[in-house]
């Protein structure tokens, strides 16, 4: 693409962000070097600084981009699913980003709906020293919980989910389960054990929450 083209700058920023996510997510914040990102893009370090004021800003934008993109996708995704599907193999595969992990290099940023393995890690590394980032993440986390709750709430109205169920707990529970299982993957637990746990526990949650459960 020629360089003097409208939108080139945005294009370039996106290219950097997409490449950066790989390193931040794989190695965390501190172990990711600007030189590494620059090299992998075939540009100089200085070039990165034309688009991002600092490493921290780059990371923040990576997060921002990720966070912004995900919410819309999440809604669309949920709309097409019945809550029962949460405990299926298909849902698990998408949620845990099983396939895209292997070809991450050539895929766009958001293959799955939830943070790529280990992305939380990089966030955590910064979150203590960067309060504005913490606020952003809190906001995002709550927003996702709200979307999930709203989704469950809809099914409560339809009489699928029991009246007395706290859909906010349900949302947070399912999300935390996923986060925790991500850690388990990181710790070296085999994926089939992760999957079995996911299916068993979500089944328990749904069975207790549904008015009629034939599973």
């Amino acid at each position: 693409m020629p360089k003097v083209v409208p939108g080139y700058r945005e294009e370039a920023k996106n290219r950097i962000i997409k490449k950066s996510v790989k390193y931040f997510s794989k190695n965390g914040y501190h172990k990711t070097k600007m030189a590494e990102i620059a090299d992998s893009l075939g540009v100089s370090k200085a070039a990165l600084y034309q688009y991002f004021e600092s490493k921290e800003e780059l990371f923040t934008q990576v997060m921002q981009y990720y966070v912004d993109s995900i919410q819309g996708e999440l809604i669309a995704f949920l709309k097409s699913k019945h809550p029962k599907e949460i405990m299926t193999d298909d849902f698990f595969d998408i949620l845990f980003d099983i396939k895209s992990n292997e070809t991450r290099d050539n895929t766009v940023l958001i293959d799955g709906l939830f943070p790529p393995l280990d992305f939380n890690l990089a966030i955590s590394e910064l979150i203590t020293s960067n309060p504005s980032m913490k606020n952003k993440m809190t906001k995002h986390y709550k927003e996702v919980i709200r979307l999930l709750s709203d989704y469950f709430e809809e099914y409560k109205k339809n009489g699928v989910i029991k009246k007395e169920v706290d859909t906010s707990s349900m949302a947070m529970g399912i999300m935390s389960l996923q986060d925790g299982l991500m850690t388990a993957i990181l710790m070296g637990i085999e994926i089939h054990e992760i999957k079995r746990t996911w299916k068993d526990i979500t089944k328990m949650i749904l069975r207790t929450s549904f008015v009629e459960s034939d599973f």
Copy 2:
């Protein structure tokens, strides 16, 4: 204590390890500085190197110590509890290390029973570059799961937990839920929401797993 006494060396190592836990757990691996640990112990950096060959070795030993301690404590703790208690306030407070968080400076981390998530941070930072460490962590993680499963298995035998329940899933589910909620805390979610979710979700798990549930 005089310095040329047998066991002094071990004593000293332990003192270093106990102090290091705090920093690695709070700040992760890279943000924790050798100088910081040395200062907080009132010794020189060089002194640390008399007991540990490198930062990485110190961290490995910290993990080892932590992991070893936890298992003993876990067994003792579980022996005194009925599974039903998992969903109580008291259990939550101990598990999430609520009190010690406030006075963290003076308490040893392992007051809590499971590795709090921000410890995972440090582990994760190293795990990619240090495969032997990953093996150790995997071993430990599995060991804790096994202990928990065994504990549930006991109650299966007693007829408290249903025959068809997979206690290994139960163990992993509960542990992941805890890990995931630790992330939520880190992301800035209020503790009362964490607690509500913990109680609601564990209740669902227990209710489906118990033969007779009067809750």
Copy 3:
């Protein structure tokens, strides 16, 4: 003005020079960035390089321009004044560029007659590494001294200034006093103290130098 007009190039160079004076004078050589100059002119950095081979050349030309302008103005200015006026408020205000300091952004520096001290800063920064520049500055400095001396010499001929006075010393003394008081301003001394000193000392110089001093 269309760009393919003879003289356009000179015009453009002058615009750059005039703008640059402000930055070099306020911030010195090293703190002045090419980007800063370009931005303030609303052009690209690359544009500057069409007119000046390097930052150093730009600065040299800035000095050249400044120095050339000053001499013409100085002659014109002195012609209209009696030496006695040196110790007046009006003269002080012009010399120390009092008014233009307040609206410096919109005025050209050379409203003042002598190089304000903070311009010396930039000169000094370069002078060691650039001998040809030093020669130019020496030449200019001597030229200004000569102009001042000639002016006093004229009044010696008229019998206003004593025969035995060394007008060259007088010129250098007055000029150095001004330079030194510029330093004092920079060091944070209040302007009224500067003014009082200027008036007191110049009065002393003039009183001793004049044949008849009624002040």
Copy 4:
């Protein structure tokens, strides 16, 4: 000198400061590199950072040290001189640090009483961006003026200096003259011209200020 000796640290700091002053004073703040100072001391850059948190702090301490030392010396020096001596060759030589300039490498920081040639330059480079430094310099400048004024005031009491003379103006005038002539040296004016001017102008000042002037 052995390294584990009380006072070694202070000694080392002083060695660094003394060496640094040479570079800051010769090249100004920006052109002076930490590497250059380190190399000339035969130590690593990192060593400097054991004694000074940053380049700016090093410079500040250089200034501080200089400023602190000079006031005591100034008083002692003045006590031994009669004001009339100000216009002598000897005084000039000391004031303008003529000899020590040539052998500066091996001499202690404060050879002369006033800032080494060009030292103001380095100060100026920082003063705009560092308000606390500006305050310190203002305080110092005023203090020196006060010391000089007090000195003249003493001679006013003794009937040597006229009652109506403003000794504060006198002090600032003489000091500014020196500063301004330093600039002239920098600009390449020959030292004999500087000296002639100094002697002529101070003579004028003294002649007008003294009750009886036989010169």
